[in-house]
């Protein structure tokens, strides 16, 4: 049993027993402590959809300038220029404008054929096997490969890049992250950047090197080499791990819901709703932290300036006030959209890319493997204060 059922509700993101199935606890938090305070780790948490929808995008009170990871906020780490996700407006606005125009639905959809080819390369050798692994056979390769294509990183180096980022986000079970894990300097990308400066191409790295933007002082300029390095590192990191986890959850949820999986295989129109439902049920980034910059009253209680607030997106996605039978996986649901990609100016830059990767991956999997059962005994789940998903997701074909 993972959830306690009596006494005051308790939750922190570190306890493996709570991380295994946090949803009964989230449900109790929504009902009993919609503004939750954890004394042990000194943070607040919001779990209701309406509260998160209202407050998460308010950058004046809920700042990203000390990062979006609880441990780093508390240590008040130095955020370097170019670490755009960890800035507030107006600097964030200036940085984000450079990449917002790149990661659009149209430009991401244009990658569809390349993504399909990549999936085929991963999946074709597996046809005929009686067991495959959604992570080690696909999730480990596809997102890194796609982001590598976008950036122009040579294929033989993409796996090394992914491994480095994974290990920087991993926490020891039951323990918070440390500031040393805040790797954002772009170490490992310097050679590509310098080479691209001399050899421009049509990739994202070249675009970042050439993009002109107006900074908050009104100066029109290009990104510095150091800023480009950090941009590349952020994009490579964000594009890898979360999408790998989406693919893992795809294996898990559709393995456990064979009837819906067969409906999807029979009707391609159900692919997009299925991806949205997977994203709603199991967000790879279940909670996101903000630094509270001024006293704010929520549910009749003052959250003091200086606090850490955790926004439990995974809880909001199942809030019974918004979703009918929110704990059920239902690709046919008619409820309004989920909040997995966040809200406001920091909403996930790569959402359109994650969706096209998820859609194409699911199509290509179903073409080759319409039926599977999850081998849960051999699957391993990991969770930290910022991500949650499968390290491997073996399934039995047929």
């Amino acid at each position: 049993m993972s959830a306690q059922t009596d006494g005051p509700v308790y939750w922190d993101p570190y306890r493996p027993d709570l991380g295994k199935d946090p949803y009964p606890t989230f449900k109790r938090m929504r009902n009993e402590a919609p503004l939750y305070f954890n004394e042990e780790y000194n943070f607040y948490a919001l779990s209701k959809f309406a509260d998160i929808d209202k407050h998460f995008g308010n950058t004046e009170i809920f700042s990203s300038a000390r990062s979006d990871i609880m441990e780093f906020i508390r240590e008040d780490i130095d955020v370097p220029p170019g670490m755009f996700i960890w800035h507030d407006p107006p600097m964030h606005t200036a940085y984000r404008s450079i990449v917002t125009r790149v990661f659009t639905p149209k430009r991401m959809n244009a990658l569809e054929q390349q993504i399909r080819d990549f999936c085929a390369k991963c999946l074709d050798p597996l046809v005929g096997k009686d067991k495959i692994d959604f992570i080690s056979d696909l999730g480990d390769h596809l997102p890194g490969g796609v982001i590598g294509m976008l950036l122009g990183i040579p294929e033989q180096d993409q796996q090394a890049v992914r491994e480095r980022i994974e290990s920087s986000l991993r926490t020891e079970e039951g323990k918070p992250m440390t500031a040393e894990q805040a790797s954002y300097t772009g170490e490992g990308f310097e050679d590509y950047i310098d080479w691209r400066m001399q050899n421009p191409s049509d990739d994202l790295m070249t675009e970042l090197l050439n993009a002109e933007f107006t900074d908050p002082e009104g100066v029109k300029r290009k990104l510095t080499r150091d800023e480009v390095l950090i941009f590349v590192n952020v994009i490579a990191g964000a594009g890898n791990e979360t999408t790998a986890k989406l693919i893992g959850w795809m294996g898990k949820l559709l393995g456990e819901n064979p009837e819906q999986r067969r409906q999807i295989a029979a009707d391609p129109k159900l692919i997009n709703p299925a991806i949205e439902e997977i994203l709603r049920m199991e967000p790879p980034g279940p909670s996101v932290a903000r630094h509270v910059t001024q006293d704010v009253e929520i549910h009749g209680q003052v959250v003091p300036a200086g606090s850490v607030m955790l926004f439990l997106l995974a809880s909001a996605n199942r809030d019974e006030d918004r979703y009918t039978n929110g704990e059920q996986f239902d690709i046919h649901r008619k409820d309004p959209p989920h909040i997995t990609f966040g809200r406001g100016v920091h909403a996930c830059l790569g959402a359109a890319l994650a969706r096209v990767e998820g859609r194409v991956a699911l199509e290509e999997i179903l073409k080759r493997f319409p039926d599977w059962t999850v081998d849960l005994e051999n699957a391993k789940l990991s969770s930290s204060s910022s991500t949650r998903g499968w390290d491997n997701m073996p399934v039995i074909i047929g």
């Binding site: 995008g57 917002t100 639905p105 149209k106 997009n272 406001g344 909403a347 959402a351 359109a352």
Partner: protein
């Protein structure tokens, strides 16, 4: 207050009375009009709340920002009448406007 008609891609109509100051996007989401996603919730950064606006009302709408212009080139099936619905704030002047949902956002 303005009465605005939302038409989903399959033809389903929603006639909604919307308070001034509410965005078209927010009104659609609040009433579960199908066809927009609005990931960013109104920050003009995700391009998933694309709609087609009644041309008769074009001159009653606020001007597009530079970012909205850029993003409108990047939506699926852009048209002359395309707007991001999060960038349109309801006013009395928009009474009677028709807003059509595109086939897809992504």
């Amino acid at each position: 207050m303005a009465q605005i008609t939302f038409i989903e891609f399959d033809g389903t109509e929603h006639v909604l009375d919307i308070d001034n100051g509410t965005s078209i996007m927010q009104a659609a989401i609040d009433h579960n009009v199908r066809g927009i996603m609005a990931d960013c919730g109104g920050a003009c950064s995700c391009a998933t709340c694309h709609v087609y606006i009644d041309p008769q009302f074009a001159d009653k709408l606020s001007d597009k920002s530079e970012m909205e212009d850029i993003l409108l080139e990047e939506v699926c099936e852009p048209a002359e009448t395309s707007r991001l619905s999060c960038q349109i704030s309801v006013s009395d002047e928009l009474d009677g406007m028709v807003v059509r949902m595109p086939e897809r956002q992504i």
